[in-house]
């Protein structure tokens, strides 16, 4: 034990010395030909102090010096989780649902706006989860389908005045076609080759959107997209329909919530279906899956298509909410973000992805006041989460699900 | 046989992750002998060798080499101390040439003259390798690959040589010649050899002493001759 701490301290000391050497050339050599140390040392001391606290915290936690304080807390948490387990899952689902319904009523505009982002990204995460988590194909250009969905609605609405509800299935449809177009030539590639080609397709989509001035208005984007409309029957003398534009965020929130709930349910159902098992067999061993009679070509294409549909639908909502689209929203880094949400939360696990989305959307929002340091902290947080939780925040529990199923099967046979 | 063992395991527990393949192994190897470890699939033979070589570190117990405890020494520091393994399945570097494979055997050594001399020596032991010295390792046949793996291990100048299933997947005639060479190496350079084999008959004929390993434990230790004549062993491992 003691040796272990010695090692931690040694590594820490080496790391801090390394950092000092790293900082000085960037901060201490000035173009006017002077060398200073003051600023380097200040920055370094801040980092040193901050990380020292973290290391001390880590060591006290590990060595259980403060076990007298922490143990009751841990026990308390354990009891809480016992209580939570005592209530059936359905109760929790109802509570969660009530919370989601009440949320816009008790929160301000900003919080609802963030919540809508979270829900849209949940939908994206679910779609990507099919491709990466279930079928095991690394996709770095996923955001392109989101873009296809958003531009479908934007263009059809602005040019032809088609309504949102007509465009929504079309957006899904076009995204699906795009998914097949990307999927078809890439199906015989594996692993990282696939990743780079999907990245290429994503970039091509963005560049085309950026340069096809006559259609997409290039980098300036498309303005003046109509929000979602609903027809409400009115009864003045005779029955007629009145168009109601959903401009209020809290109404839009409910629509996006419905989309997110549908996508969560759809992915859960898909995962436990025959198709889901086929995908997972491809992920585990493609050759073996093929030998077992899984038509890998068809299922891989299907994974792309289904994943793309979710992104397309989310994209249409995105366009309706922003009422403006531009290629800037569909860059490679956005694809990476969605991938991060899926992996950070725990690949293949639905609560994990939701948590991952919340962490990655909420974290930058929380740090918004430190605007400059926001992304720095964000990057560091990603590394740290991965270092301590390499399987994600809530890893998928496929085995447990199976065990439950088996148990259920047993009771079923007992009854009969 | 001298009284001091060159390699000694004392109650070693080890394994990969949560699966414990070794549940308390104790064995001794004396300088200059050929020691056979026999056992069925999954008995822990390969894990024993990997634990000695530091690829897997024991959870419990001690390993002594020349009286020095080597439990926690990282794997790459052991070959310079004279401990070398030819792992199961040869594991030559397939996209390096035969010559490069041999040079890497002597990676830690800096005496160019000595390396050249040893190179000549292994080429004289395995003339076929000299013919193929410019060929990539992956293009060799199974028997040639086994020879290359042995030759590469000899380039580390081992005092204790651990061999894991040298007969695996080879034609019987090649197996015989490989074992002849193993016996020669032992005789000529006084190298201690620990031989892990499923082919118990061949292993015990070559070795002086033997251990029988079953599900992570040593169940029997004796002279090779007595083991060969042991009725239980004949029944369990020699198919009689």
């Amino acid at each position: 034990m003691r040796q272990e701490y010695k090692k931690i301290w040694k590594n820490y000391a080496v790391g801090m010395a390394w950092l000092l050497g790293l900082l000085w050339p960037m901060l201490g050599i000035h173009p006017d030909g002077t060398l200073t140390f003051h600023r380097t040392l200040t920055v370094w001391l801040y980092i040193f102090a901050g990380s020292l606290i973290c290391v001390l915290f880590y060591i006290t936690k590990k060595s259980r010096i403060l076990s007298g304080v922490t143990d009751p807390l841990v026990n308390g948490a354990g009891k809480l989780s016992d209580i939570s387990k005592a209530l059936p899952t359905s109760v929790w689902m109802v509570l969660l649902f009530v919370f989601l319904l009440v949320y816009p009523l008790v929160n301000g505009r900003y919080a609802i706006d963030v919540a809508i982002s979270v829900l849209l990204y949940v939908c994206l995460g679910m779609g990507l989860n099919i491709v990466v988590g279930l079928a095991g194909m690394l996709d770095l250009g996923y955001i392109a389908f989101y873009g296809v969905g958003a531009y479908t609605y934007a263009l059809l609405n602005v040019a032809y005045g088609l309504s949102f509800w007509l465009c929504l299935p079309l957006a899904g449809c076009f995204a699906c076609i795009a998914g097949c177009l990307v999927g078809y030539p890439t199906l015989n590639m594996r692993g990282d080759y696939l990743a780079i080609v999907t990245m290429g397709f994503g970039e091509i989509t963005r560049i085309v959107l950026n340069n096809w001035m006559s259609l997409t208005n290039g980098p300036n984007g498309i303005l003046g997209i109509k929000p979602i409309s609903i027809l409400i029957p009115t009864f003045h003398n005779t029955m007629s329909f009145e168009t109601f534009w959903v401009k209020k965020l809290n109404v839009l929130y409910y629509f996006v919530l419905i989309l997110a709930v549908i996508s969560v349910i759809a992915v859960t159902r898909l995962r436990n279906s025959r198709i889901g098992r086929a995908w997972e067999s491809i992920r585990e061993d493609e050759t073996a899956a093929e030998l077992m009679g899984v038509n890998t070509f068809r299922y891989k294409l299907l994974a792309y298509a289904v994943g793309a549909v979710f992104a397309g639908l989310a994209g249409a909502f995105f366009a309706a909410r922003m009422r403006f689209v531009s290629p800037e929203s569909f860059t490679f880094i956005e694809s990476c973000m969605v991938l991060c949400m899926v992996v950070l939360g725990g690949m293949g696990s639905i609560p994990g992805i939701v948590l991952g989305v919340i962490v990655l959307i909420a974290l930058p929002e929380v740090f918004r006041q430190f605007a400059l340091y926001r992304m720095l902290v964000f990057g560091a947080a990603m590394i740290i989460i991965m270092l301590f939780k390499p399987d994600g925040l809530i890893p998928a529990k496929r085995l447990k699900i199976q065990a439950q199923y088996e148990k259920k099967g047993e009771t079923d046979t007992n009854v009969s | 046989m001298s009284a001091e063992p060159i390699l000694e395991l004392k109650d070693v527990h080890s394994g990969y992750g949560s699966i414990k393949a070794l549940k308390g192994i104790s064995l001794k190897a004396y300088p200059g002998e050929i020691l056979a470890i026999i056992g069925a699939n999954g008995a822990g033979k390969s894990t024993t060798l990997m634990t000695i070589c530091g690829i897997v570190h024991p959870d419990q117990g001690e390993i002594f080499y020349k009286g020095k405890k080597i439990n926690k020494i990282p794997a790459q520091k052991l070959p310079p101390m004279g401990l070398c393994q030819v792992p199961e399945g040869r594991r030559i570097f397939p996209r390096l040439t035969v010559e490069e494979n041999l040079i890497l055997g002597a990676f830690y050594r800096n005496d160019r003259a000595g390396i050249d001399k040893d190179m000549e020596h292994v080429y004289s032991l395995f003339p076929i390798l000299k013919e193929r010295s410019r060929q990539q390792g992956g293009t060799l046949s199974g028997g040639e690959q086994q020879m290359l793996a042995l030759a590469r291990a000899l380039m580390t100048k081992p005092e204790v040589l651990l061999l894991d299933e040298p007969s695996l997947g080879l034609a019987p005639i090649i197996v015989q010649s490989i074992f002849d060479i193993i016996a020669d190496i032992n005789k000529n350079s006084d190298t201690t050899i620990i031989l892990v084999e499923q082919n118990a008959n061949l292993a015990l004929q070559t070795a002086q002493r033997g251990y029988v390993l079953e599900t992570g434990r040593i169940t029997l230790e004796d002279d090779a001759e007595s083991l060969l004549n042991n009725a239980d062993i004949r029944k369990a491992y020699l198919g009689e």
């Binding site: 790293l22 173009p31 091509i204 964000f378 | 790459q76 397939p94 990676f107």
Partner: protein
């Protein structure tokens, strides 16, 4: 014809730079199967150190007296700095996660974001201008102009590539690098410390990228904190095009991507120049799913 030759020279210059960056990707991928997203940032860091060192020299007037010494100093400082950065990054963010492919990929992405913003904070969001007066003029053959800078870049690139090739294919260390890429356990059994070799691989890759960073800075006249992203992405395409993990492939891929980009921009459309690189990539991978010189690596699934 003149136009063609001019484009060819420009394409070769750019291709060489891509090749230098692509090598880092491919070498790292070769030993630990990681797409090192932070590699573009090693390149940017090199560019910054280069401009810092050169500005320092100019302020003291050394460029007047010893121009070549200053340049050599800037190059070597940048390369050493990036190598130093890369080794630390590997130890902190990648080493503890070895064996979990997606986790380390995410860690690399996080590192890229972190370093990019770190550089923005220390160097500012504005472009940093390179002193341009070091390389003025060039040769003219009719309509074709080859600047001294282009000659320097091409010569330097060729030298570095040649040196790397010697190192990897002719020395014992190079052999150990290739052995580590093929089988880490077996390397340990012949006394090769794979962690040291992996650190060395990172250092060499980052050093080459840093050299490219200084040259890009000189070529385009400035460096910017997020330039590593775009160039890095294309260099990565070059690595994949050549067959990732293959050093010769990365050099070839870099040249192809550079030439395609320059010719595409020159003869077809400047706006879509990035598209051509990707289309070539997709086209080649469609017919050769493992790149031009790549071997079939089946274990590289997610």
């Amino acid at each position: 014809m003149d136009y063609f030759i001019q484009q060819l020279v420009n394409g070769l210059t750019l291709g060489g730079l891509y090749a230098l960056i692509a090598l880092g990707y491919t070498m790292v991928y070769g030993v630990i199967f990681l797409i090192n997203f932070a590699h573009g940032e090693f390149f940017t860091a090199g560019g910054y150190i280069g401009v810092i060192a050169l500005s320092y020299c100019i302020a003291h007037g050394y460029t007047q007296t010893h121009p070549f010494l200053c340049l050599a100093g800037a190059f070597s400082l940048a390369m050493i700095y990036s190598a130093y950065l890369a080794v630390g990054v590997e130890k902190i963010a990648y080493l503890p996660l070895r064996g979990s492919r997606l986790a380390v990929l995410l860690s690399a992405l996080g590192m890229s974001i972190f370093l990019q913003n770190g550089m923005m904070l220390t160097q500012g969001v504005m472009d940093k201008a390179y002193p341009g007066e070091l390389f003025e003029g060039g040769f003219s053959f009719g309509m074709v102009t080859i600047s001294y800078l282009q000659i320097m870049i091409i010569t330097m690139t060729v030298l570095l590539l040649f040196g790397l090739n010697r190192l990897v294919y002719k020395t014992k260390i190079g052999m150990a690098m290739r052995a580590t890429a093929q089988d880490k356990t077996m390397s340990a059994l012949v006394a090769i410390g794979s962690n040291n070799i992996i650190s060395l691989t990172f250092a060499i890759g980052a050093g080459l990228a840093a050299a490219a960073g200084v040259m890009v800075g000189l070529y385009y006249g400035s460096v910017h904190y997020d330039m590593g992203f775009n160039l890095g992405m294309k260099a990565f395409c070059a690595a994949v095009l050549g067959g990732i993990g293959n050093i010769t492939g990365a050099m070839l891929g870099g040249l192809i991507i550079g030439l395609v980009e320059v010719f595409g921009a020159g003869y077809i459309s400047g706006q879509y120049k990035d598209v051509f690189a990707f289309i070539i990539l997709i086209g080649v991978l469609y017919y050769r799913p493992t790149g031009i010189m790549g071997e079939n690596i089946d274990e590289t699934r997610v």
